[in-house]
Each structure stands twice: as C-alpha cells, then as structure tokens.
Symmetry: C2
Subunit: 250 residues, 2 copies
C-alpha cells in the first residue's frame, strides 16, 4: 500500500485520480480531512491509499428504496459507504422527521468515522442521532473463538443550544484494525475492549451486529436513528463536568 | 433494610403487603422472579426489600400522552418504572408498528433489568428492540470527578426463527450499585468499565444519558426503539459461535 497523503492538497489530488465524480470527491475529502483534524488518522488520508488498492464501482450511486412513517430504506447499490451515509444525512437535513425516523442502509461499506455523520445531522438539523454499522468480522468471543463480529461502533450525537453537540463514537475493539495494519498493535490485541469486563463490549458488538443484520441484511450495512429533541440537556451536563473533556470535544 | 425474600411465596406475600393492586403485583413479581432465575439478584427479590423502605404512589398509573407516526410518548405519572415499561411493552405487543417506533417514557424509574423488557417484545411480538434508561448518577469521569452519569444500561434483543432471541443487557459500570450495597464491591469500584479503555464505557454512558434526557426530560426516563426485522440473522450467528455462550443465554 502506498503511503498516505500528507497534505490536503495531496489528498485532493490523489482522490481525483481515483476517478470518482467531483461531488463524491468532495464527500470523501470532507470526511477524511475531518478525521485527520480530530486525530482519527485511521479514518483520514490513510484511507485514500487504501482505496487506491481496491476496485469499486466509480459510477454507483446510493438510492432511497422505500420511505414510510418511521423508517426509510436505502441501498448503497455498490457505492462507497461514505456516499450512502452522506446521502442519508443530506436527506434527513433537508427533510427532518417531525418525530423520529430509522434510516436503514443495505450494502453500506466503508462507513468511516461514525461520529462524523451523527455530528453532521446534529449540527445541521438539530436532531439527536444514533448510528451503528457493521464491518468485517474481527472480534472473537472473550472465551476465545474465530472472529464473530465487526468492531461495530456506536455513535450518538446530542445537539446543544449552547455550543457544539456532544458526540460519542465508541468502537467495541480494544484497539483498531488500523492500529494493527500500521503495526501499532498486534492482531491478538484486537479483542473486545474491557479486560475482565470484555464480555460487556462483546455483548454490545453482538447486539449491534445483529441489529444491523436483522434490518439491513447479511452484507455490511448501517442503521441510523434520528429524533427531534424535546429538551436541551447538554449545557447543564457540561456545567456539571466543569471543564473536563467530554466525548467529541476537540 | 430487611432481608430479601428467599422464596417465590415469600416474595408474593411481601409484594402484596406493599399495597399495590393485583395487576401491579403480578408485573413486579414476574420481573423480580425472572431476574432471580437469571442470576441477576440485584434486580430480583432484593428489590422488594428495597421497595418496602420507599414511599411511592400506590395508585399511580402510567399513560400514553402522545402517539404519532414514529414516536409514542408515555408518562409514568409517579408509578413505579416497572409498570410504565410493562404498559409500553403491552401496547407494542398489542399494536406492533408496521416499520419502527420510538417509545419515550418520562418519569420512569426504577426500570429493573432492561433485558427483560426487550426480551418480552422480541419474544411476544417478534420485534427487534433496543432500550436504555437513566438512573441516579453514579459514574465519574475516567479522569476523576463527581458522579456524572447513571450506569445507563443498553439492552438489545433480536428475535430468531430458530429459538430464543439474543438478548444483550450491558451496564456501563465496572460493578453494579447492588454489589456496592451488598458489600461485594467498594464504592470506588463503581466506575465506567473497561480499565484503560474506561473512556469508552464512560462515553457510552454519557451518550445514553443525554439521549434519554433530550427526549424524556431531566427526571429519570427510558427510551425504547422497536423495529420489524427484515432478516433472520440469529440462527446463522449461533451456528458460527459453535455452542459458545451468547448474550442472554441462560
């Protein structure tokens, strides 16, 4: 795999060479650049080098396949998952639900840093958002087994009247697959986090894996819940936390 | 606090003495008895002794205050949270949504073992269910602070064509408050689980706390998502796990 781009200009140039359309380049650049700025380099420019080694359908475009009260269905149609999640977010921002809605994305991979997407709808539509997604199986059972689930992150964003939202983005792995690829962690360390309580993170990974599969099917997918807030708890919470770093803070 | 009842007959008798109506006694007994059978004794008969020392509104009854596509709102109206969650489950079982629905319960405490409620709607209505609830603040920031969040469990049930559902029920605390009360753990051990990754469990606790507060308000509440499954991933998952104990198995 080539080295990752080291500057935004190089990232832009190499994204262009992938052959994607301009709008798709913009979506990917915004995602990777945000990840770099937040120190999530495994979801940043390194993914451009990763994409350079993969073949994918350059012209594929995600679509909404069903929309009913309470639930929208989307299909990635072979497009990169980033594009599917961006399309879902754009749609929710343009037409936020009056109450709550579940958006189910079939064939949606890779999905990047899930916190990015929930932050987007939270900041731009004032919605509460919760998102999870499946990815290749990498986590074994805490008692030992072959890999049974993805690292299956859970991201939650809560908007605030008084500043940025709180954005939680927690993977169930003790280390990331990116760390293993980069030689920063051994494959044996890619287990459910929690040490003696690893059964807890494993249980969450299993629940989220099956939630997505039961709604989106056996290929990697994503499930996003959005809801309109009725209360504004973040300012009071930040006050109680008295300046401590909270999830999603830079 | 008195000793907990040790037999179902004693549990029944002492529940009756609390002065609740018969239907409410049945709801509480079923919940406590199930917790005992599953070894979750902190949510079992011990709670009868706990209730004996509390005053609560014996005649209060939860009610649905709003119902719109995608979202129902409930108010505990001062009733025990068990009764509010039972009413929500009964309602969802009687009228399962065609797609997905969020049920938001304001003033809903105590809520017991959340796995019980998601198992109920999963087994009886064939729905996917995800439930979280807030409780008194007990978890500090991993860097040290006063208690900022409840232990805020997340429960997820996925129905299966081939047997019992998978039922995940994970609290974000390294130990339970019940363990501390029973002298089995020290108050200092009641921190987010995860050891060196405790920031992950803390982040989840924060996200779930604010999710509930943003929807249900500042008093303890609960939020349940239910959705109709489109796929049946549990049998295949159990097969891959080759007899290993999975979340919710007895």
């Amino acid at each position: 795999m080539s080295d990752a781009p080291t500057t935004p200009i190089e990232a832009r140039a190499r994204l262009e060479l992938l052959g994607l359309g301009l709008a798709a380049q913009d979506v990917l650049f915004a995602h990777f650049d945000d990840a770099e700025r937040r120190g999530k380099r495994g979801h940043g420019y390194a993914r451009i080098a990763w994409l350079e080694e993969r073949s994918f359908d350059l012209d594929a475009s995600p679509g909404k396949t069903d929309s009913r009260p309470g639930l929208d269905r989307w299909d990635g149609h072979g497009a990169l998952g980033y594009l599917t999640l961006q399309a879902i977010c754009d749609d929710l921002i343009a037409s936020p639900p009056a109450t709550a809605k579940l958006a189910v994305a079939t064939r949606c991979f890779p999905t990047g840093a899930l916190g990015y997407w929930v932050r987007l709808v939270s900041e731009q539509a004032g919605l509460i958002a919760l998102l999870t997604a499946t990815s290749p199986r990498r986590l074994p059972h805490p008692d030992g087994s072959e890999a049974l689930t993805g690292t299956n992150p859970l991201a939650i964003a809560i908007p605030s009247s008084g500043g940025p939202p709180i954005v939680v983005d927690v993977s169930m792995g003790a280390v990331t697959h990116g760390d293993v690829l980069a030689g920063l962690a051994s494959p044996e360390e890619l287990v459910p986090f929690g040490g003696k309580n690893a059964h807890k993170a494993f249980a969450l990974a299993v629940g989220l894996e099956l939630l997505v599969e039961a709604l989106a099917g056996p290929e990697h997918g994503a499930v996003m819940l959005v809801a309109r807030p009725e209360f504004d708890p973040v300012p009071g919470f930040r006050e109680r936390a008295e300046g401590l770093r909270l999830p999603g803070d830079s």
